[in-house]
Amino acid sequence: MEKSIAKLRETFKNGGTKSISWRKSQLKALLQLINQNEDSIFKALDQDLGKSPVESYRDEVGVLKKSVTYTLSCLEKWVAPKKAEVPLLFFPAKAEVMPQPLGVVLIFSSWNFPFTLALDPLIGAISAGNTVLLKPSDLAPACMSFLVETIPKYLDNKAIKVVAGGADIGERLLQLKWDKIFFTGSPRVGRLVMAAAAKHLTPVTLELGGKCPAIVDTLSTTPSKAKVTAKRIVGGKWGPCNGQACIAIDYLLVEEKLASALIELLKKTIKRFYGENIKSLKSISRIVNEHQFQRLVNLLKDPNVADSIVYGGSVDEEKLVIEPTILLDPPLDSEIMSEEIFGPLLPIITLKNIEESINFINSKSNPLVIYAFTEDETFKKRILSETSSGTVTFNDSMVQFLCDSLPFGGVGQSGFGRYHGKYSFDTFSHEKSILHRGFYPEIEPRYPPWTDFKLLFIKLAYEFDYFGLILLLLGFKRS
């Protein structure tokens, strides 16, 4: 493994990844990889997670294609140095900021969107001109194998490598020196990654998780808006990998008096989307493995929590299936309300007044996304200014992920750093400042021996008081 990394470093040093044409060729090759292997990708996702092709396309294949295409169309613009303004005092001078690759980067991806979370950062790293080692999650083994086998067939092996393995490989990789580490996963492992990076002063981007709440304030508007709200909630909970997504809706906040109406709407929508019961479940991913299955089942073991189930609750251990489950007001100190659920269980917390949702959300650590279904402009402004999260999405769920111009990342416990679109390019770049100066004119007061005149001169210069400077030089100002 150390040899592979040495090779990556050598390739970088020799400038193998610098040229725009190399970066473009790799991105085009990646696009080809995706286009030519769509069926295999669907198959692997079905095997690892039971994802249907529509979900796989919507959340993985389609997202990646869009990301590569967008990057290809913008790359030349992003790579170009940006001019910076220079004050007259420095004349003649030219200032600019030039993005440069960081070097050899390490990307850890997660199991729930095994293609998107591996290849989207890869797109950023390549576009910025780095060499990359990609470590996909072994909890999605078919997808990991696919990446290990297929990437070398399309991309430049001297610059982009994929390594298979589990936590032990991950640990070994973390002992080495990287120029950047990009990590998607849990806060617990995020801490370990950052601590390891600290030893080498390696900058990191941590895309973590949290409990993403959805504030529901549109049930009493019109029936059609209420229906759309319900669809978007259901689509935002069970749609992305059956709730196993960092940006999936974790729990709902709604006013007491509207809770039963909400539950009814949700039930109807769930049945229409996913089937009547656990036996006829369709168009939904399964739980990734036994360990996660047990974890989720345990969340329901607490009798007070079990009592609060108002829909669903059935499980099928053999198939690793838990049906969409809704809970009404489980105890706030239960695990299901303190841990990120990452599964198909949806607690609804009722409040006397929907405005209380702000305090409720603030009592927990900063989530990756806050969803708010409301048409009250004042309430929207309050949510924006009084809560903190990576992103806020009004009146929908999940779609912010498709917006290339919005930075995607967390704050506080949900992580730091961001990507998507140009932010991906930036996150794998160093912005180098450059100042060009001429030899003339020379400003004598810059140099010792120091005198009062020189002191006054420089003071005026620093205040950009050009008029004062002229007066001083003409002898009209005294020190």
Partner: protein, 490 residues
């Protein structure tokens, strides 16, 4: 007064916890978010500097024997400029930035909103104890945070003065100065911060980042490194030499992270260069530089001993071509130039941070790029040349925090350029708007409406929906129109 109590009692983990709790309460109450509060604090800082210039100059003289001009300009004037810039531009900085939306999320609007991170810790260094303490604080205030400032104990007079002045002029419920050394810093690092900014060396930088990792706290590390100067021939040698001197001995006597550390020039040019240095150094500092009032001293006896160790190493001491005099009682070392020290000497393997300037010679100027890239990435690299092609190659090839052509250190004063390192010289950047950004969270906001809800988003998933989805994500007009009309095709 609160700060008096903190000074008298031992500042331990519990004290640190209390401080953070108090600041967090102030932050949650919205005090620091308020726009007017931010303006008031920045104005107070300006007033603080205006009204206390002599005291500040005196403290810097105590700590570093810093010449009055350096204190007035590189510390006070620069800070005042930074404050004024923030006051002038803050109203733009706090405005949300509109973001473009694509057809994939139509109809929608998007923006990026800057919000404060919360309670931040600024740990500063001893060489520019005022500038490196308050410049980050300006950014943190402008961005709306509550702040703890931990100035360096190696410049104690300035640290005490800062503690006193900040308590007198600024809002103590939101901005506090904690004085102390390793135990106090450790106590602070145990706490949970929303951001930590550290200026100093790589060894402590690692400790800061490791402590931050426990709480997933993002960090900015402004570290150091050996900043080389490449000197080509065919230039105005006098101007180049003076600018190098100004950047080296004119900046706290070489004790600055962006001071030229060593020079690389061609074997042919070295003699001329050395002669030019001798001439200009004498012009600036006289025949007895140890007595010049225009040079800072070495900060303390530890660093003095460290520098002598670099200078007196056997294979190095014979390479001195100018200077080498020292005055232990006053902690002064004369500007010293060395020619062709061996690459494996101590002086070439650690950041000098003092008044010693080694000159390394090579055959061709271009060879310097590989030489520099073979070491760890420095905070800055300087090059003096009139050769256009060489400039282009330099800018493209050499990796460092920042580059300056035909001058040294002045990029620090350029607020439109991000100031920070890369690799071992650090991570993150600040100055100007970059300070505001570094202490902000850029929150993405997407506004959607209820119109145009495309059934193809939702299950049951069918082949028809898959086809439409492909069209939408792929940008096919016909497919998009169909999707927007909300037509389902089961």
């Amino acid at each position: 007064m609160a700060s008096e109590v903190e000074k008298k009692a031992v500042f331990d983990i519990d004290s640190a916890k209390e401080v953070v709790q108090e600041l967090r309460a102030s932050f949650v109450a919205g005090k620091t978010k308020d726009y007017e509060w931010r303006r008031t604090q920045l104005k107070a800082m300006l007033k603080m500097m205006d009204e206390n210039e002599p005291q500040i100059v005196a403290a810097l003289r105590d700590d570093l024997s810093k010449p009055e001009l350096e204190s007035s300009i590189y510390e006070i004037a620069m800070l005042k400029n930074s404050c004024k810039l923030a006051l002038k531009k803050m109203k733009h900085w706090v405005m949300p930035e509109k973001a473009k939306t694509s057809l994939a999320t139509f109809p929608s609007s998007a923006e990026i909103v800057s919000e404060p991170l919360g309670v931040v810790l600024v740990i500063s260094a001893w060489n520019y104890p005022l500038l490196l303490s308050l410049d980050p604080v300006i950014g943190a205030i402008a961005a709306g945070n509550a702040i703890v400032l931990k100035p360096s104990e190696i410049s104690p007079a300035t640290a005490s003065l800062l503690a006193k002045l900040v308590a007198n002029y600024m809002d103590s419920s939101c901005i506090k100065v904690v004085e102390g050394a390793v135990p106090e810093t450790t106590a602070l690092l145990e706490q949970k911060w929303d951001k930590i900014m550290y200026t100093g060396n790589g060894r402590i930088g690692r400790i800061v980042m490791a402590a931050a990792a426990k709480h997933l706290t993002p960090v900015v590390l402004e570290l150091g490194g050996k900043c080389p100067v490449i000197v080509d021939s065919g230039i105005n040698l006098q101007v180049a030499t003076r600018r190098i001197i100004a950047g080296k001995w004119g900046c706290n006597n070489g004790q600055a992270c962006i001071s030229p550390d060593y020079i690389i020039t061609t074997k042919d040019y070295a003699v001329e260069l050395v002669d030019s240095f001798k001439c200009e150094l004498e012009r600036f500092y006289g025949k007895n530089p140890l007595e010049s009032k225009d040079l800072s001293r070495v900060v303390n006896s530890n660093h003095f001993a460290r520098l002598l160790k670099l200078l007196d190493e056997d294979k190095v001491s014979s390479k001195i071509v100018y200077g080498g005099e020292r005055d232990k009682s006053n902690l002064k070392i004369a500007p010293t130039i060395l020619l062709d020290v061996p690459q494996d000497s101590l002086i070439m393997n650690e950041e000098i941070f003092g008044p010693l300037l080694p000159i390394i010679t090579i055959d061709k100027v271009e060879d310097s790029f590989d030489l520099i890239n073979s070491g760890t990435k420095p905070l800055a690299v300087y090059m003096f040349t009139n050769n256009k092609k060489l400039k282009e190659k330099f800018v493209e090839k050499v990796s460092a925090g920042g580059l300056v052509i035909n001058d040294t250190t002045v990029h620090l004063a350029e607020p439109t350029l991000p100031f920070g390192g890369v690799g071992d010289s650090g991570m993150g950047a600040y100055h100007g708007k970059f300070s505001f950004d570094t202490f902000s969270h850029k929150k993405a906001v997407l506004y959607r409406s209820f119109a145009g809800d495309a059934p193809l988003r939702y299950p049951p998933y069918t082949n028809g929906k898959l086809r439409l989805l492909k069209a939408l994500l792929g940008g096919s007009i016909l497919g998009i129109i169909r999707a927007l009309m909300g037509w389902s095709k089961a």
